[in-house]
């Protein structure tokens, strides 16, 4: 290392960081898009079975989780505004609120899944295999799609947790916040996917 490299401030490329994050999010959209494609083809083949199977899901739980995720997106967005106005304490509080809401979402999901598993509605369960082909496909897609979404929630929570630590250590500040913004973008994408999952699984009439 020479002197120049040590004294120069590290190069930051704000626009590049954000563009990179968006490109990654595009691949995420296509990942879930593939699953939505499978869902729509099978639903068009077995509309009655999907209708019957969806009756087994709790609209109330689905709606509550929708409200929780939408609210967590709000607190995430507000945390960035707060930081940029120089109020890092408020930003830390709002990031913590986002994490708490994400955890509540996962707890609800846990109760929801264990309820279905108790009813014998899990992949390859003897009870599920007695049902029609379309219902088996519905529950398969339900577990894969909400499961993959759930993994994204966990990843998002870990990311926000890291951002929270960095904000508290003054490594993310009102002058350098692109990491927090990118974590926020990821979290909003998780919300975005749930916006489509909710009507497609819970609200089939």
């Amino acid at each position: 290392m020479n002197d120049i490299a040590q004294t120069a401030s590290p190069h930051k490329d704000y626009a590049g960081s954000k563009l990179g994050m968006w490109l990654f999010l595009f691949t995420e959209i296509l990942l879930f898009g593939g699953l939505f494609l499978v869902y729509s083809v099978y639903r068009s083949m077995y509309p009655q079975d999907f209708h019957a199977a969806a009756a087994g899901l709790s609209v109330v739980l689905g709606t509550v989780n929708t409200v929780i995720l939408l609210t967590s997106s709000l607190t995430m967005a507000l945390s960035i505004s707060a930081l940029r106005r120089g109020n890092s304490r408020r930003s830390v509080l709002l990031q913590s609120a986002t994490i708490v809401l994400g955890l509540v979402f996962l707890v609800n999901k846990y109760f929801e899944w264990s309820g279905h598993i108790h009813e014998g509605l899990y992949p390859n369960a003897p009870e599920l295999l007695t049902r029609s082909h379309g219902e088996i496909l519905f529950y398969g897609l339900y577990y894969v799609m909400t499961g993959l979404h759930g993994i994204h929630v966990v990843v998002g929570l870990v990311l926000i947790g890291i951002m929270l630590t960095l904000t508290m250590r003054q490594r993310i500040t009102g002058a350098d916040y692109v990491k927090l913004e990118n974590a926020g973008l990821y979290w909003h994408l998780v919300d975005l996917i749930w916006i489509y999952l909710f009507p497609l699984f819970y609200l089939i009439t």
Partner: protein, 94 residues
């Protein structure tokens, strides 16, 4: 550095968007109970897409981004539309 100093979205804007999103959620749950027949799926997808638009435009800050980023978003959307469209041509006319 100067490009990141613009556009701090006011709290009021975010809260308004959140309220709109909650109202749209209430609408989609209510509409799902009414039997719209063949239109129920279409309505659900339309409402979800309006909600997604609000999240992208305000929460994900797209409104304040450069045109390049806005246009780039069309790439995955059009790709998906083409893939889904072509697949259904196959499913329906096989």
């Amino acid at each position: 550095m100067n490009e990141q100093d613009k556009h701090i979205v006011p709290t009021k804007t975010f809260v308004s968007v959140w309220i709109v999103l909650l109202m749209l959620t209430a609408v989609t749950v209510t509409v799902a109970k009414a039997d719209l027949g063949a239109f129920s799926t279409f309505t659900a997808i339309m409402i979800a897409s309006i909600k997604a638009g609000f999240v992208l435009w305000y929460f994900m800050h797209l409104k304040y981004e450069k045109r390049l980023l806005k246009l780039l978003l069309l790439v995955p959307i059009i790709t998906l539309a083409v893939i889904i469209g072509l697949t259904f041509v196959d499913v329906w006319y096989r």
